[in-house]
């Protein structure tokens, strides 16, 4: 009896705007795993995770989600997704509480009211990201790092079994990074799975058991995460230096 695999992508090819972005990519994530997707800018990390959560169609290959072919999969509330975003919002104001509560909607049938259990999940998610005291504030009044935490709380409010995050640490202050590491640690300890795209791991490094390194739309390596650089002044700060693909962004591998 093998472990349930959360995502099982075999020989996946994805084309966007007439261009092949992913080429023959195979990645399997088992239940309870904590996996980082690493790689230079433009290497296909975002495309890969969007494909895993069913947002990109496959031109070739097979994807199974919770051991079910993606076309037949219906239990989407088991997944939480935090897209690569700079900020929350839109034209109309919304409070932190409203945005986080919207992460519950996928779990609710149309005529069911927002119950005590729903509110408890929202409160818990807010607590986990350290924003309980801002629940009534407009999201636009928060800092970039706090807004990122709101987006993570929105995903956590749905009580997902697997959380997929696209660069949740990019441009986020050290405080928010620590809070995020704490929240993901809780989820992982409770048996949840985490797939996370990152440029630099920072305080998350100690949680990661496996790293998939992408390069030019292919999997370059898949295995234990790169070891921390002993010469670095930050003991748990991990940098990626894939050789086939020189850094294309000024932030790649650099401290901010």
């Amino acid at each position: 009896m093998h472990a349930v695999s959360v995502f099982d992508l075999q020989h996946g090819t994805v084309a966007l705007g007439g261009r092949r972005i992913l080429e023959d990519v195979s990645v399997t994530v088992d239940e309870g795993e904590f996996v980082a997707i690493l790689g230079a800018n433009g290497s296909g990390k975002t495309t890969l995770v969007r494909t895993l959560v069913g947002l990109n169609p496959l031109a070739a290959g097979d994807l199974r989600v919770f051991d079910t072919p993606v076309r037949q999969f219906r239990q989407w509330p088991r997944l939480g997704y935090v897209p690569q975003r700079l900020s929350v919002g839109g034209g109309v104001p919304a409070t932190v509480g409203e945005v986080v509560a919207s992460g519950r909607t996928g779990r609710l049938s149309r005529f069911r009211r927002f119950s005590k259990a729903d509110q408890a999940a929202v409160d818990h998610a807010l607590e986990d990201v350290g924003l309980s005291h801002r629940v009534g504030d407009a999201v636009t009044t928060l800092s970039g790092g706090q807004q990122q935490r709101v987006l993570i709380a929105r995903a956590l409010a749905g009580e997902p079994e697997v959380l997929v995050l696209d660069e949740p640490t990019a441009g986020v202050d050290a405080d928010s990074q620590d809070t995020l590491a704490g929240a993901l640690g809780h989820l992982s300890n409770a048996g949840g799975s985490v797939v996370l795209v990152a440029h630099e791991l920072g305080p998350l490094a100690s949680l990661i058991r496996r790293a998939v390194v992408m390069s030019q739309g292919r999997v370059q390596s898949d295995g234990p995460p790169p070891q921390p650089d002993p010469h670095h002044d930050h003991p748990d700060h991990v940098h990626q230096h894939p050789h086939a693909d020189p850094p294309s962004s000024s932030t790649f591998g650099l401290d901010r």
Binding site: P83, G91, P93, T95, G106
Partner: protein
């Protein structure tokens, strides 16, 4: 109140009230997604529907509903595809709508004064039959928005996240598009096709200056919209100006007051 002595004014005031309530409920979702001009686009398309109704000698409201729903669905499909030329495609649709309407009305032997009633609203044009249609359709729009509020909020916060959590995103987007089309036609008699979008957008823009929450903005905008709509109609009666003009001017004045007083408070 002498104003209530006239049947047409009583009908007009009821129509203005329900339209003022319904228009911002759709407008909130359009503003949230930065699609404020969608209502204008649908208004242009609906004009062809009016022309068709006049030509076929059936109810222009009915043909306008059909044509603008079709137009709104086309607009939504173009938006979803988000093609590079989407912007131009929409512009072409708008011009076609206005041009088609003007030709059809002329062919039907219509006058330009009848035309003005559709474009800027008219006080005397709401018949008993019209009123029944206006109230029914406004109620349908409001009930639908209330029923799907939670999902619509989630979708307009982030379509991708909503899709991943299993929501029927395309259906919900079409719901807003069709709701906008119905609202445009329902408001056509009161504010007119060229100004209907203002009643969807301006109350939302005003309330969001002072609100912190989405629900506060939504409910506040519906309240403000109905007050402005009824107030504007009363002004239209006494000042003898097209109701669309007075309703929108009143709304813009409220926006100005909110913007200035907010500056004051913050300073």
């Amino acid at each position: 109140m002498t104003i209530l002595a006239f049947d047409f004014m009583r009908r007009g005031l009821i129509a203005a009230f329900v339209v003022g309530l319904a228009a911002p409920s759709i407008g909130t979702f359009l503003v949230q997604r930065r699609l404020s001009l969608t209502g204008d686009g649908i208004g242009h398309v609906a004009f062809t529907g009016v022309g068709l109704g006049v030509l076929l000698r059936t109810s222009p409201v009915l043909t306008a509903v059909v044509v603008s729903v079709v137009g709104a669905v086309v607009i939504e499909i173009v938006r979803e595809r988000a093609a590079a030329s989407g912007d131009v495609a929409l512009a072409l649709l708008f011009y076609g709508g206005l041009a088609g309407g003007s030709i059809l009305i002329k062919l039907a032997g219509g006058t330009s004064s009848a035309l003005g009633g559709y474009l800027f609203g008219s006080l005397s044009s709401v018949s008993d039959g019209d009123l029944a249609v206006i109230v029914t359709l406004s109620a349908v729009v409001l009930l639908t928005m209330a029923l799907f509020l939670r999902e619509l909020f989630a979708v307009c916060q982030d379509e991708d996240v909503a899709r991943v959590s299993g929501m029927p995103v395309r259906f919900l987007n079409l719901l807003v598009a069709v709701g906008a089309a119905v609202t445009v036609t329902v408001a056509m008699r009161t504010v007119g096709l060229l100004l209907v979008s203002a009643l969807m957008v301006v109350p939302v823009a005003t309330v969001q200056l002072v609100a912190r929450s989405f629900k506060g903005t939504l409910y506040g905008a519906c309240l403000l919209g109905s007050v402005m709509s009824v107030g504007g109609l009363v002004v239209s009666y006494y000042a003898d100006v097209p109701p669309g003009g007075s309703i929108v001017m009143l709304s813009l004045a409220a926006f100005l007051v909110a913007a200035v007083s907010r500056k004051w408070v913050r300073a």
